[in-house]
Symmetry: none
Subunit: 395 residues, 2 copies
């Protein structure tokens, strides 16, 4: 792609409706998309090349990171982002390339050291911030240590220094009734880091001993920023992202996107798009509510989230980008109340897209689209081609 | 898959209708499946996610081993199982890792040594056992030799000893009207083994000279046990197989399936399924007759085999497994009277499968299914996902 990509004034907009794919409601036999009133999405579908994407592969339920990396054109198995890094990105922490990040839980243990609640009853974010302050001045030779609160019982541990390695086992046993596991080096060069982290856990335990909310920490997902080429390097794009939630901004930053103001909702996001439209040639717009309501298991609320998005679309349609892609990073059927493996509806509208016969944006309708079922990593080359930003390959 | 698989009580049943795919009859323009009365298969199709599988790849006609390995989730090109090993496993021979196994046919040759029947008129299994006894005490320096009857004209040759190599050419020319070929070493280290096997064939010919049933042997598929991870290792499954024919039991054993009683026909097999239903969480059920009648080139008989299967299905449907997959390991169009490269109808029924609009189990109908055309190796991940036995991939 590097060799055949070229810059041009054409604009690509990638609108990601998080968790948009669903399953039929047991009574109506219609999915969330099929149940929603969505004239704008259907209007786009009529002028688009449609299909269904597999973000990672058949049967694989993607986390948010692999789901988005695939949409951005990266092999989501090759670039597997660690949990620690993802949590750090989720709170807008600026990680440097050598930093080690880990996800922590404040938890409770009994007097024998056995975990009684992995989430300490989901303590409040305020209690969490207090506990992080208790740990904030832990000082261990070999690394600078940062402890930052996320939501409820979640925190991020950052180690900064030279010669650190993320090749460590978790201390989180992923179930109650067991003691936290010893953190072990998975390679000789990680031994020093293992000692530092073990010492951190030991000091944290001492300091939290008499805290009423949580008296222990469990750690998992030690990781570093991946070495990932940026979208500008690969596609010669100048990409911007407009996302309300930090984790998606973090993922976008990871691949070199500029973070643009997003406001509070999709209407704000599309205003920001208009404001910055001249300055970038690729925009990633992230809509979260569909996934949240799907995870709540609330079918009707997910339908309303789709309708909320649809209502907000006219300013985007008025901009009439050279290439408009609408899809999701994975499915989140309200019936399952979690991410799922089901392929995700996709549509691409451009002057050159060869529209198919699909007249509705839905799982069943897109199945009959011109792209059929295809891997999500193919979207970026297709977007580039439709934006006339790709040279011929080969003589 | 190892990392994200988890055990649960849900049940997966994989029903393989051997060689089920066909081609349109020249007069009716309907395939065997389209011609058969098959209300149960069609009923399953209406509630299933359907598609067409490529067992190995476009244009590739699979043997039984690659066809089944792909269904079990193994790359059939990476794990190319020798015919000899399969035959040996199919008769419950305990192969050791250094043993060499080969498939033999008792055949007939004329007085010029030209093969007149590669299967010696499909001699009875009793005659076969008698002939194996005639060869049983052949003694050649360098290897211990075992000769074991399979069904009809088929037998297995096992060589045990040090420094043996399976890198040998076949003596079976795969057609009548030719003499058996000389067995040759494909690598320098196989020269000794080539001499041993050639001596075996020579002594066998002498001993069989005046036997009325078959007067020669032809050998093929010299091979050793492959190093293949089991289904329990990869998917944490407890798998059982219910197959009437030895080779399919052998293949199942190779990937760590337990062999369960199968009786003589599909009705017996489904009784066995019911009896063992509680003790396993994955079942492979193999139905052979469709392939046999297809290989006979008997269109009507293959149609009847499909109807025989369909009639037997109610006990399976009553068990209502969490995931039911119905497909084939390859096509065997009666018009071609042999295995073929054509993609094979597939359906998967589960509570979470997202049924499509397919209402019939046939080649043409499944083409419009929700899976479209896809590689057979994707079936296992999809089955695991639908059984809710897979964790999310990535953070």
């Amino acid at each position: 792609m590097k060799k055949i990509s070229r810059t041009s004034s054409s604009k690509i907009v990638l609108l990601v409706i998080d968790g948009v794919g669903g399953l039929p409601h047991p009574e109506t036999c219609k999915t969330e998309l099929e149940s929603a009133r969505k004239p704008n999405l259907n209007h786009i579908a009529r002028e688009s090349l449609c299909g269904l994407i597999d973000p990672v592969g058949s049967g694989i339920t993607p986390g948010s990171a692999p789901g988005h990396l695939a949409l951005f054109g990266y092999d989501p198995i090759k670039y597997n982002i660690g949990r620690g890094v993802l949590e750090a990105l989720g709170i807008d922490l600026e990680l440097k390339s050598k930093d080690i990040a880990a996800r922590g839980n404040f938890c409770t243990i009994d007097d024998k050291g056995i975990i009684t609640d992995r989430r300490a009853g989901r303590i409040s974010t305020e209690e969490n911030a207090d506990l992080c302050r208790v740990l904030s001045d832990i000082d261990i030779k070999g690394a600078k240590i940062l402890v930052r609160p996320v939501k409820e019982h979640r925190f991020v541990l950052i180690l900064q220094g030279d010669g650190l390695s993320p090749e460590l086992t978790d201390s989180d046993p992923q179930q109650v009734g067991l003691a936290p596991k010893k953190i072990q080096a998975l390679s000789p060069q990680a031994r020093g880091t293992a000692e530092i982290v073990s010492e951190f856990v030991s000091q944290a335990r001492s300091r939290l001993k008499n805290e009423p909310a949580a008296n222990m920490v469990i750690m998992r997902g030690f990781s570093q920023l991946p070495d990932i080429p940026s979208l500008s390097e690969i596609y010669k794009l100048k990409p911007g992202t407009i996302a309300v939630y930090p984790m998606y901004r973090g993922l976008a930053k990871l691949v070199g996107m500029q973070i643009l103001p997003a406001g509070d909702n999709i209407t704000d996001q599309l205003k920001s798009l208009r404001q910055h439209y001249r300055d970038y040639d690729f925009f990633f717009i992230h809509f979260k509510n569909t996934d949240s309501r799907g995870e709540d298991g609330d079918f009707e609320a997910k339908v309303r989230a789709i309708e909320e998005l649809d209502n907000a679309l006219p300013p985007l349609l008025n901009l009439n980008p050279d290439v408009l892609i609408v899809t999701g990073d994975h499915s989140t059927p309200a019936n399952l109340a979690t991410h799922s493996w089901h392929p995700v509806p996709f549509m691409l509208k451009s002057k050159w897209c060869f529209p198919d016969n699909v007249t509705e944006f839905s799982e069943r309708a897109c199945l009959a689209g011109g792209m059929g079922r295809f891997p999500a990593v193919e979207i970026m080359p297709l977007a580039m081609a439709n934006a006339l930003k790709l040279d011929k390959f080969g003589a």
